[in-house]
């Protein structure tokens, strides 16, 4: 007999192969865990496919797999991250997300209590964002064939008429805005890695940005580029935009906000905050004339209080990102090669 049931067993039980077997255990898990916490009218239809109405406009769709380790970290967990990550991808097209789907790959032996914690965190993130999870799937893999839990989410959104945001739209003469300090997420995760635990107050910045985006776009519909600098950090995101738009960037190091404790942790680990991941920040590229207005709007929003203008778009056939350092020199800010590795000497 499997250990799934009601109440008690979610506190003590673990995922086993029957939870993915399509039988009663799976049905109980879906009903008592996923449906209970993620409850909404579309999900409650219990179809294999969700059917719902959408507002007028063009459809935007994005999908993202989440495999973060550790699963729980200061400021979030894989559940909230899997909601925020996909909502932000939709928002970076300038769209407002309307619904999400979620697919879970569970490893045999994974504690059901942890799964419940993750699903509750997803439910909270989705309800705060006002975007329901309308469909999902669960599979179980044998022990050793997964890392606890992997979550893939897909987001659907609607793009208002007249918005044409694209990574290829940056033009020389425009300016680069950043919504807040960089590096919080990556450092929060590193601080909890098994072999690297260190004491810090740094929390992940994981957050859904579509509210901030909505405010910015309603004021300035012709923003050229929006991008959330996640894996690879600010440096990688700007290099991608430089490549797609055929332009260069000149950044001012002193204008790029980095929290002192993040800077200190990076110094200690031999990392460069420019390359450290964020999950609740956005880069906005716009006309210089719109910069002040957009910064005012960002400063009035909880997720943009520390927004800053950090640099300019310039003509450059080589598509380089260059930074004027505090020290007085200039350096190329290149793509990241592989993972940043710690220094040893």
């Amino acid at each position: 007999m499997n250990n799934t049931g009601k109440g008690q067993s979610f506190r003590t039980g673990t995922v086993d192969m029957t939870h993915g077997g399509g039988g009663r255990a799976m049905a109980v898990l879906i009903k008592d865990l996923f449906y209970r916490h993620l409850k909404n009218p579309v999900l409650d239809q219990a179809h294999d496919a969700a059917v719902f109405d959408i507002p007028p406009g063009r459809l935007v769709i994005s999908t993202d797999a989440h495999v973060v380790s550790p699963l729980f970290f200061p400021g979030g967990d894989i559940g909230s991250l899997s909601v925020h990550g996909t909502l932000n991808d939709v928002a970076m097209a300038g769209a407002q997300p309307v619904s999400l789907t979620a697919s879970f790959i569970l490893e045999e032996g994974f504690p059901l209590a942890d799964l419940e914690r993750i699903v509750m965190s997803m439910a909270q993130a989705s309800s705060q964002a006002g975007v329901p999870v309308v469909s999902g799937d669960t599979k179980v893999v044998e022990k050793g064939k997964g890392d606890g839990v992997f979550i893939t989410t897909t987001g659907v959104g609607v793009l208002p008429e007249g918005v044409a945001i694209s990574p290829g739209a940056a033009q020389a003469g425009q300016v680069v805005l950043l919504s807040g300090p960089i590096g919080d997420h990556g450092v929060a995760i590193l601080s909890k890695r098994e072999n690297l635990e260190f004491e810090t107050e740094i929390r992940s910045d994981s957050a859904a940005l579509h509210g901030l985006v909505e405010n910015m776009i309603s004021a300035v519909p012709d923003i050229s580029v929006l991008r959330d600098p996640t894996r690879g950090g600010l440096a990688t995101a700007l290099n991608e935009i430089a490549h797609a738009s055929g332009v260069g960037f000149v950044l001012q190091e002193k204008e790029i906000p980095v929290r002192p404790d993040v800077r200190a942790a990076c110094e200690l680990l031999g990392l460069d905050p420019l390359y450290v991941a964020n999950e609740g920040k956005l880069i906005c590229i716009c006309e210089a004339a719109d910069a002040t207005r957009l910064l005012d709007i960002a400063h009035a929003h909880p997720l943009g209080r520390e927004a800053a203008r950090i640099g300019e778009v310039v003509e450059d056939g080589d598509r380089m990102v260059v930074m004027q350092t505090d020290f007085g020199g200039a350096r190329v800010v290149d793509w990241l090669s592989g993972e940043q590795l710690p220094r040893i000497c």
């Binding site: 072999n195 380089m320 350092t325 020290f327 007085g328 200039a330 190329v332 590795l341 040893i344 000497c345």
Partner: protein, 383 residues
């Protein structure tokens, strides 16, 4: 950030730059070898070269621990991990260095070898305790900075009675390498490496002190200034070296007084002495075989010596043909003089160790220095 940002102050940098410009004799060049990769990194990351006169030339030295490890030792580590079913613990920098036929630890890991990236020897000991049924090997590399932790780990393993922990010891020594660089005849087809003075190691010297460089300075008549790793440290040390050169002196001076003393860290030295002893000779990538330039584990601790526990097969190890890492490590060539640089060899697809480590000269050139002129032009256009 206290104790760090003070040493990256732009206005102080400009003052030092003026002092260097005034002190330097325009009729001559100053060839200064910065021994450590940490210095190379600082010079490029902060654009120090832009702030000093053109006749002050930095020659990049071999002080990148990952870069000087010969391919054969890396191949041995790959073999240990793949064929002896051990857990191999390594510092992260080592993972992507290509061995013979481009085989790196990261590729061995993908083939199923159990390789764990660690930040310290203490991580390796923890993995040893958690896996009492497995053999755990710590891949020890580095100069005198990383040597004391290795010695301590061996002492700790002995005290705890850990039977499944060994160290693959590849620790090397700085002063013999400096002596070798100034003493070695030029390789065939290369001009002799010209060095007027050394920016001496900073963290290494915190352990060994400044005294071990005194014979080198005296015998080879080259000034040495122990220099910190922050950009202002590098600039101040540059000024100190230029003054020594102008005055015809060849002393060992210490710019990094906030950390380094003449005698160094005696406790660390005693721990190393207790566990490790000199090798008769050791192969360095780039420098070739250098006598008395590395350490091995003493007989009393041979139970913890991976070279004793796991016989590795003799092999013909090969670096990539036409990779100029060896000449670059000697200071004989600049990264841009290598045919592979930026074409076949990039940080995404490194052919040699100097492109992997952030302390390697090729990686520093690629990351910060590539198209430096273009960067300056863009900067100007934007102002």
């Amino acid at each position: 950030m206290r104790y760090v940002s003070e040493f990256r102050d732009g206005s102080l940098a400009r003052k030092l730059a003026r002092a260097i410009a005034q002190a330097s004799d325009r009729t001559r060049n100053y060839h200064l070898m910065e021994f450590c990769g940490g210095h190379t990194h600082a010079i490029f990351r902060y654009g120090v070269q832009d702030l000093v006169p053109e006749n002050v030339k930095y020659v990049h030295g071999p002080g990148c621990p990952v870069c000087v490890l010969p391919v054969r030792r890396l191949d041995d580590a790959v073999e240990l991990a793949l064929n002896h079913d051990v857990i191999l613990c390594t510092y992260g920098d080592m993972m992507r260095v290509p061995g013979t036929k481009q085989k790196s630890l990261i590729k061995a890991k993908a083939e199923g070898a159990d390789i764990r990236m660690v930040y310290s020897t203490q991580d390796a000991l923890r993995i040893t305790r958690d896996n009492s049924h497995r053999e755990v090997v710590f891949f020890a590399i580095g100069f005198e900075t990383t040597t004391p932790p290795t010695a301590v780990a061996i002492l700790q393993a002995k005290a705890e009675g850990l039977k499944n922990f060994t160290v693959f010891c590849n620790h090397v020594l700085t002063p013999p390498a400096i002596a070798h660089i100034v003493n070695a005849p030029a390789e065939e087809g290369e001009d002799p490496v010209r060095i007027d003075g050394f920016l001496g190691p900073s963290h290494v010297s915190s352990v060994i002190g400044s005294k071990p460089y005194e014979p080198v300075a005296r015998i080879y008549r080259k000034p040495v200034v122990i220099a910190g790793f922050e950009p202002l440290d590098v600039m101040q040390s540059t000024l100190m070296l230029i003054r020594q050169i102008n005055e015809g002196r060849h002393d060992v001076e210490n710019q990094y007084t906030r950390v380094v003393t003449r005698d160094g860290n005696r406790k660390a030295q005693r721990l190393v002495e207790q566990v490790l002893e000199l090798r008769r000779e050791f192969e360095w990538r780039g420098l070739g075989t250098v006598p008395q330039s590395a350490l091995k584990i003493r007989k009393d601790f041979s139970d913890f010596d991976a070279e004793k526990r796991f016989p590795v097969s003799p092999k013909t190890s090969r670096e990539v043909k036409s990779c100029e890492c060896p000449a670059i490590l000697r200071g004989a060539k600049r990264p841009t003089e290598c045919k592979l640089f930026g074409n076949i060899c990039t940080p995404d697809n490194p052919m040699g160790a100097c492109m992997v480590s952030s302390e390697g000269a090729c990686a520093a050139y690629w990351t910060y220095g590539r198209k430096r002129d273009a960067a300056a032009a863009i900067k100007e256009a934007a102002v």
